[in-house]
């Protein structure tokens, strides 16, 4: 016979205004197995908690139901109180009388009856509760940062400066990301590379940071504090220890016409290459898909000219296993390409370019050394149109969201153009100017007022080529929707920021959630902006949604702080809500029959095999076994198990069954 205590909270008047708390306490007191029942104005207050603690001791309670607010609010409070009184905290349950009853119904007998039903249900649950103990897990104080753009760089430096080891993995041959491609940055117009490259060098030289470029995450297992990451280091075909970065190989390589990724296809690179002069590390890799030797088996010019003999054609991908305690995902974003715009020519007009391509044209290190020249014939465009919201805020193109950065960079582009082509004429077609940020609106105003950029409110319907000119068919919606046709030399699309290709697979590898646009989802949009739903994995920067540089850096530092907080502990405690496979007396040993449907359904790969042996050591059968460190307690396996051999602590079959029975049987 259980001895359960029921404690009804008035929550000031929040509950008692519509629920007759005294009546609930009275009825609860008569329930089978209830040894004590009372109501009180504020259960969560000190005196309230004292009542609970006293009664646990006085009545020798073996279960507690606190009928108050949502367990999402005060479950930890009351469990702690129980534990202080010597009762296992997991023998305490909360009945939600406030959010689920008093606040959503008017005062009536039916409301009080519902409160009674809820309490009765939880009393029945508690009768089947078992004492549980929190799970302790150690913390590996090493972080994995995925992505070496500004977000990954900032997060790595912050974590490293807090005194922890960091492994920074970047898929390209160099760190730097999109920020290294930018010409100048808004709203200060300071040179992007000038502020970024010192940070890149700092990463390379930091004693706490291990840099792995040309590498990708292959697999991530484990859980907070105890991840096991497998990194694929792609073969660079170079012995990095021998290579001095002299660059002779890149000047002699005969395959010179490969569109440069760094220059967004506006320039060329060789097959053995360093993406850009300031690259970190400044050592080349061989692009196997384009190298003559790999394609045709002949060439090896680089090998011949290399003064240190560092070329390794037989190098193979290497898989490295790392144990890390936390992961920061900083994989960044991408933008829509011109080919995704049917109405602007499907990418067939060379002088219709993206904003990122314009950055390369405007950059001093770019293919035109900073002169604005159009890709088709290298002429300086006399007239140029910038189209904002190209793809963004466009549900028909699958991107209903605002990409956030385009208004600012378009203003910057127009400004840079006016600064570089003084006699030029620039037009910006926009829908709204979204320049919320420190000194941002002033910046866009400057483009209009000082640099005489023509802003037209309206979207462009079509761009086509006619006699070497681009005809832009737009509209000025502020002029009674007057159709506007402008003949220009170049069109720049402020194309939407999108998730990186492959982010879906990456998210699945890491078991983190992602939104409908494949951006990674934060755990809470307001209060947990850098956490993911998987404990121990954090987000930094534009892999979450388009972000500008300051926002990205802030998020990166935020994620780094979260990692540092995690690493400040030696051990972590976890709720003991985990699945357990049953054990029974021989000859069954366990009713589990080893079909492993649970294992295939488990989102965390937390279910493995266990061999059950007899005394002589012969294997009798294989059954499922839950790794409590990996199990997150969803219970999906439990609902799959046909023989009810697996159960979930905290939400056992008996508990849930009794709740249903109690709820429906007054």
């Amino acid at each position: 016979m259980s001895k359960i205590g029921v404690f009804i909270c008035h929550c000031g008047e929040n509950i008692s205004a519509t629920v007759n708390c005294g009546k609930v306490a009275e009825v609860a007191g008569k329930l089978e197995g209830v040894a004590y029942s009372t109501d009180y104005k504020y259960m969560c207050s000190d005196p309230g908690q004292t009542i609970i603690k006293q009664m646990i001791k006085e009545k020798g309670l073996d279960g507690v139901v606190v009928a108050a607010c949502s367990p999402r609010m005060h479950e930890p409070t009351f469990r702690k109180a129980c534990s202080e009184a010597g009762l296992n905290p997991y023998l305490c349950e909360m009945a939600n009388l406030r959010e689920h009853c008093s606040w959503v119904h008017d005062k009536s007998d039916a409301t009080t009856q519902k409160a009674i039903d809820i309490v009765r249900t939880l009393v029945e649950k508690v009768k089947h509760n078992k004492p549980l103990s929190t799970i302790k897990v150690p913390v590996t104080k090493k972080a994995l940062v995925i992505g070496g753009g500004i977000a990954g760089i900032q997060a790595s430096l912050d974590i490293a400066n807090a005194g922890h080891q960091v492994v920074l993995v970047e898929k390209e041959p160099s760190i730097g990301g999109h920020m290294s491609q930018l010409s100048e940055t808004f709203p200060t117009l300071d040179c992007s590379q000038c502020i970024l490259t010192p940070r890149m060098v700092e990463v390379a030289q930091h004693p706490n940071i291990t840099l792995m470029t040309y590498a990708e995450l292959e697999k991530l297992d484990g859980f907070i504090g105890n991840f096991k990451a497998t990194i694929r280091k792609k073969a660079k075909s170079i012995d990095e220890k021998l290579c001095t970065g002299c660059g002779l190989c890149t000047t002699k390589c005969p395959t010179k016409k490969i569109p440069s990724e760094f220059n967004e296809g506006l320039g060329f690179r060789t097959a053995i290459y360093v993406p850009f002069p300031q690259a970190v590390p400044n050592k080349p890799v061989i692009d196997k898909l384009n190298c003559q030797y790999y394609l045709k088996g002949k060439c090896k010019v680089c090998e011949k000219v290399c003064p240190t003999g560092a070329i390794r054609f037989d190098q193979e991908d290497e898989l490295v296993e790392l144990e890390v305690g936390a992961v920061v995902v900083a994989t960044g974003f991408n933008i829509m390409t011109t080919s995704e715009f049917p109405e602007y020519g499907y990418g067939k007009y060379p002088d219709v370019i993206t904003g990122l391509q314009f950055e390369r044209l405007a950059s001093a290190s770019g293919p035109t050394l900073g002169e604005i020249r159009r890709p088709s014939d290298g002429k300086i465009p006399e007239k140029i149109v910038f189209i904002a919201c190209a793809g963004s805020r466009d549900p028909a193109k699958g991107k209903p969201y605002c990409s956030k950065i385009c208004c600012m960079y378009t203003a910057k582009h127009a400004m840079l153009y006016q600064h570089k082509v003084h006699h030029g004429e620039s037009y910006v077609f926009y829908m709204d100017i979204r320049a919320a940020g420190k000194n941002y609106d002033e910046f866009t105003r400057r483009a209009i007022v000082e640099d005489k950029v023509n802003y037209l409110r309206g979207r462009v319907s079509k761009v086509y080529e006619e006699n070497g000119k681009l005809i832009v068919k737009g509209v000025d919606t502020l002029l009674n929707a007057k159709p506007v046709e402008i003949e220009v030399d170049m069109v720049v699309l402020a194309s939407a920021g999108v998730a990186n290709p492959g982010s879906e697979e990456l998210a699945q590898k890491m078991h983190i959630s992602y939104d409908a646009y494949n951006f990674f989802s934060e755990a809470h949009p307001k209060l947990k902006p850098v956490e993911t739903n998987t404990a121990g994995i954090y987000l930094a920067g534009a892999c979450q949604a388009p972000k500008d540089i300051p926002e990205t850096v802030a998020a990166a530092s935020g994620a780094a702080a979260k990692v540092a907080i995690l690493f400040s502990q030696n051990e972590l405690s976890r709720e003991p809500v985990v699945a357990v496979v049953n054990r029974s007396a021989p000859p069954l040993y366990s009713t589990c029959v080893g079909c492993f449907m649970c294992a295939t359904a488990c989102p965390y790969s937390a279910i493995g095999e266990e061999e059950i042996k007899d005394r002589k050591g012969n294997v009798i059968k294989k059954v499922a076994k839950v790794n409590p460190g990996l199990c997150q307690g969803c219970g999906t396996c439990v609902a799959f198990c046909r023989s009810k051999s697996i159960d979930l602590d905290g939400y056992t079959n008996e508990q849930m069954y009794s709740e249903v029975m109690a709820l429906l049987n007054e």
């Binding site: 249900t121 359904a601 439990v638 609902a639 249903v660 429906l664 049987n665």
Partner: protein
């Protein structure tokens, strides 16, 4: 004549619908008293037998609700649940167990108003269908036998 007040059990997940129902409370949106919630960690945990048991114990209607696709706290519990529901619903329908009495929904932690709406429309719908006497007759057969 007093109106028929259906008994409805809601099986909801902790992270989305339970939290969404909390938000309904915090927002003081009123809804019918007929629905009582049982909290599960995830829709993936909800055993189909519990639904059947609820009808057996006299429920007139059932709500099953959890996180929207792609929003599962455990990444895929709701996807598994959805498959199970699709199969379960088909079977119940074949057996003539009234599938209109089970309302499935996705209610996120942010959809307090949607929760109130799901509850109210379900209560109205069940009220229109009336008490689940077909099932009760079968269930009561058990009691009759026990009384003999």
């Amino acid at each position: 004549m007093t109106e028929f007040e259906p008994k409805i059990v809601a099986f909801v997940c902790n992270w989305c619908t339970y939290a969404g129902a909390d938000l309904t409370g915090t927002s003081r949106i009123k809804y019918a008293q007929n629905v009582k919630i049982i909290r599960f960690p995830c829709t993936g945990r909800i055993d189909f037998m519990l639904l059947l048991k609820a009808f057996g114990e006299g429920a007139d209607g059932i709500i099953v609700s959890g996180c929207h696709p792609n929003d599962c706290h455990y990444t895929s519990g709701n996807f598994h649940a959805r498959r199970r529901w699709i199969m379960f619903r088909g079977l119940l329908d074949l057996l003539g167990i009234d599938v209109r009495r089970i309302q499935y929904s996705w209610v996120s932690a942010a959809e307090g108003a949607k929760w109130a709406d799901v509850v109210n429309t379900t209560v109205t719908a069940i009220r229109e269908l009336g008490p689940y006497t077909d099932y009760a007759k079968v269930a009561n057969y058990l009691e009759k036998e026990a009384n003999v």
